[in-house]
């Protein structure tokens, strides 16, 4: 299978962005160096596995052919669904099969891989093999998001290739409508503007849901990623809502023997966590009815369809919602803001003690079981070259190098997105990735059934969080992390 042929598929994704980027448009500095570096790997084919997302498709469809053209090393990238990608990478590394020379590492799984020594230390490998180090590649180029992929000693174990924050989106056409503003003022006595705290947010949500009913519109006041059988809801609560109430790291204290219950020193069932849950459930109740079946995907589409006046949406979706007319009805009417939060949370985030939301993303890593490590190192550097970033950021809204923010096309896009990139650059430090737990998916799945029961109302929120905290400690004991 020639991957160039996949251009057809990528055209679907690319055509909806402002400019289409193709392999021939990319200008690489020092082509001779790449050509020479590739010579010793004649006949090598690199194989990678990743989730099928726009940033990954760009790797498969644009970067891989360009790399092959320069170096003669062919690159096959398998793009598949998230759970398949995860399972296949683990099976390959666990069994030592050596199928993959590159694997996608989601930020939340890196700690599990590091704990198992699945990954090659890229910093060390490049220091050792100076002749493989590309002239324009440097670790200093990365944004601070790369720190998520550093092991002990600060060495890099994954080359970041996508990064997003989960932000507060609102409809500028509604928020700036004079009649609506007047109606809101009359009802609440306040000016209509993006909320900075939960109380205001709820008031706005309430107002718009009523406004939708009164005017017989398909409009509600908020989104909710509240699927009753899919972990997306679990994530929205623990990564986006609980932190804004000051409950961090899922309410688990890693330094205190992984305590989760209040009794043993955790915060998973603290008063703050319970308040966060009740607030979120009350928002869910006035969100569009499909929210009980919504994962991140559906939340984004709900917003793009103009069914919500405001909501928390992953940044990777914010871009197409704001700019792609073939998929969104609210192009040009999208504003971005920081999520609403309780008092004191911002100060904690600024001082580095807390955070206000989720910084999501992923990297490509090199499994120790790979049979083509050296050639793979070349490709990993190629993905991190400053030269390829501009086109990539346009094709798929992600930024992993600091220099990319200043690229002309990126600035242009930033205006369209209501300043999303500016926010990512300036306020990115207030957001944080998943806590460094090697048991990420295991704990999530262990507690998810209780969480879903809270959503359906089978268990009350207080009691439910008590049970979840209890279950967390049991599970971590069973897994051997809690003594």
């Amino acid at each position: 299978m020639k991957l160039m042929h996949k251009l057809g598929a990528s055209a679907i994704i690319l055509s909806l962005m402002t400019g289409s980027a193709f392999a021939q448009d990319l200008q690489i500095d020092n082509p001779e160096w790449w050509q020479q570096a590739g010579q010793q790997f004649e006949g090598v084919t690199l194989q990678g596995v990743t989730e099928s997302t726009p940033p990954s498709n760009f790797v498969a469809d644009v970067l891989a052919p360009k790399f092959e053209e320069l170096t003669g090393i062919s690159v096959q990238v398998e793009t598949t669904s998230w759970d398949q990608m995860y399972d296949k990478a683990i099976k390959d590394m666990e069994a030592g099969t050596g199928i993959y020379d590159m694997i996608y590492i989601e930020q939340d799984i890196i700690y599990a891989y590091l704990a198992r020594n699945f990954l090659v230390d890229i910093t060390a490998a490049l220091n050792e093999k100076g002749d493989l180090k590309a002239p324009t590649y440097s670790e200093d180029n990365f944004t601070s998001f790369a720190d998520n992929f550093r092991g002990e000693g600060g060495n890099l174990f994954g080359v970041p290739m996508e990064a997003f924050i989960k932000i507060y989106l609102y409809r500028t056409d509604l928020f700036e409508d004079a009649d609506i503003q007047a109606a809101f003022k009359e009802k609440t006595g306040k000016d209509l503007k993006p909320a900075t705290n939960h109380e205001d947010y709820a008031e706005i949500a309430q107002f718009f849901t009523e406004y939708g009913t009164e005017n017989d519109m398909d409009l509600w006041g908020t989104t909710a990623q509240a699927h009753t059988g899919h972990p997306a809801s679990w994530y929205e609560y623990f990564e986006s809502v609980a932190p804004t109430y000051g409950v961090y790291n899922w309410g688990i204290d890693a330094d205190n023997n992984y305590a989760a219950t209040v009794e043993s020193g955790g915060t998973m069932n603290s008063d703050e966590a319970k308040a966060a849950m009740k607030w979120w459930l009350s928002m869910r109740d006035i969100a569009p009815p499909e929210s009980v079946q919504s994962t991140w995907t559906e939340v984004a589409t709900t917003f793009a369809a103009g069914r919500a006046a405001q909501g928390l949406v992953y940044g990777e979706n914010a871009a197409w919602i704001a700019s792609d007319e073939s998929k969104s009805k609210v192009v040009g009417n999208v504003g971005v803001a920081l999520p609403p939060m309780e008092e004191g949370v911002m100060q904690a985030a600024e001082s580095g003690e807390g955070y206000i939301g989720y910084y999501d993303g992923g990297a490509f890593g090199l499994p120790v079981t790979s049979k083509n490590k050296d050639a793979s190192l070349l490709f990993l550097q190629f993905m991190a070259l400053p030269e390829v970033q501009e086109e990539w950021a346009v094709a798929a809204p992600r930024i992993t190098l600091t220099s990319t923010y200043d690229a002309a096309k990126v600035k242009e896009l930033d205006d369209e997105l209501g300043g999303y990139y500016t926010m990512l650059r300036d306020d990115g430090k207030l957001f944080k990735g998943a806590p460094p737990y090697p048991f990420h998916a295991q704990l999530r799945e262990a507690t998810a059934p209780i969480f879903y029961s809270i959503l359906t109302g089978e268990i009350g929120p207080d009691e439910g969080l008590d049970q979840m905290a209890q279950k967390t400690e049991e599970e971590l004991t069973a897994l051997g992390y809690r003594q």
Binding site: G229, E290, V292, R444, Y452, L479
Partner: protein, 291 residues
């Protein structure tokens, strides 16, 4: 009548393939079920733990709840499919214009992958934007919400399964009905038997092997349903549609609980075999021996 060597020879390729791809993996899973193994536990190694997994299983409320809803799902789905499938197969025995077209239409659901079926039904039943809740609401004022109502989600999974798999029952029963000899029926009519008598005393006994084979297949396939339900409800709301296939999937894929997941699989396999074996020895085997 002639050498059994030929018989074994004809059977050999089947036995060889099933040995390498069925029996060998089975023993691996059986072996694993007596071990604790989660590659992301503090101790990632495979550790022998005797029958601990099985002991834990007996008290595992999540597993028992899953077993319960699975049995209900299988019962409602398979019984409905059998009744509807038989009625349709009989209806196809008559001649009427356009029969070939109708038969083709009726088999269409079969050629759709479960993952597609799950997607369509999800889009048709999502609250407020799906066509079915929307029509039910405007016609009857009925609120169908598969995201909050356990009964609604359960019912939709059953209906989806009936829609998808009834054609399989119809097809296998058509094959059985067309190969029935006609003389017993003619004789019965001459003797003045009524329709119900003919059905219970002639048709049913003669097609029983095919009916049972079909029930078996549907039974075991319904017990392992994963893709469709995962796509439609994700096992929710709560754990209302977390059928065994889904439960095991979640235990093994995201949770990487390989040891415990193996134990669940072994138990499910064991229960399926026992249930089918009881049906088999009481209903099919005596007939086969006779033949």
């Amino acid at each position: 009548m002639h050498s059994n060597r030929l018989g074994w020879l004809l059977l050999a390729p089947t036995l060889v393939i099933l040995f390498f791809f069925g029996v060998v993996p089975f023993f691996y899973v059986l072996w694993l079920s007596f071990h604790q193994w989660n590659p992301f536990a503090a101790n990632p190694d495979i550790v022998f733990n005797g029958a601990d997994n099985f002991r834990a299983l007996v008290f595992d409320a999540g597993f028992l709840a899953s077993l319960g809803v699975t049995l209900a799902f299988v019962f409602f789905a398979v019984v409905s499919e059998l009744i509807i499938g038989y009625a349709l197969a009989q209806a196809f025995m008559k001649d009427f214009p356009g029969k070939a077209i109708f038969r083709t239409i009726h088999t269409l659901p079969l050629i759709m992958a479960p993952i597609i079926v799950g997607s369509i039904w999800k889009l048709m039943t999502t609250p407020s934007i799906g066509i079915i809740p929307s029509l039910l609401d405007s016609w009857f004022g009925f609120d169908l919400n598969i995201g909050t109502s356990a009964v609604a989600a359960f019912t939709v999974t059953v209906i989806m399964d009936i829609w998808h798999w009834t054609p399989l029952v119809t097809l296998t029963l058509i094959a059985a009905l067309v190969s029935l000899p006609s003389d017993p029926f003619e004789q019965a009519q001459i003797d003045g038997a009524n329709k119900r008598q003919i059905f219970w005393h002639i048709t049913l006994p003669m097609i029983m092997p095919a009916v049972l084979a079909t029930v078996f297949i549907r039974l075991m396939d319904a017990l392992r349903t994963v893709d469709e339900v995962l796509m439609l409800t994700g096992g929710g709301p709560g754990s209302a549609t977390r059928y065994l296939g889904v439960h095991i999937f979640k235990e093994v894929f995201p949770r990487t609980n390989y040891g415990y997941g193996s134990a669940i699989s072994i138990i499910v396999l064991y229960l399926t075999i026992v249930a089918c074996w009881l049906l088999y020895v009481s209903l099919i085997a005596p007939r086969n021996k006779k033949g």
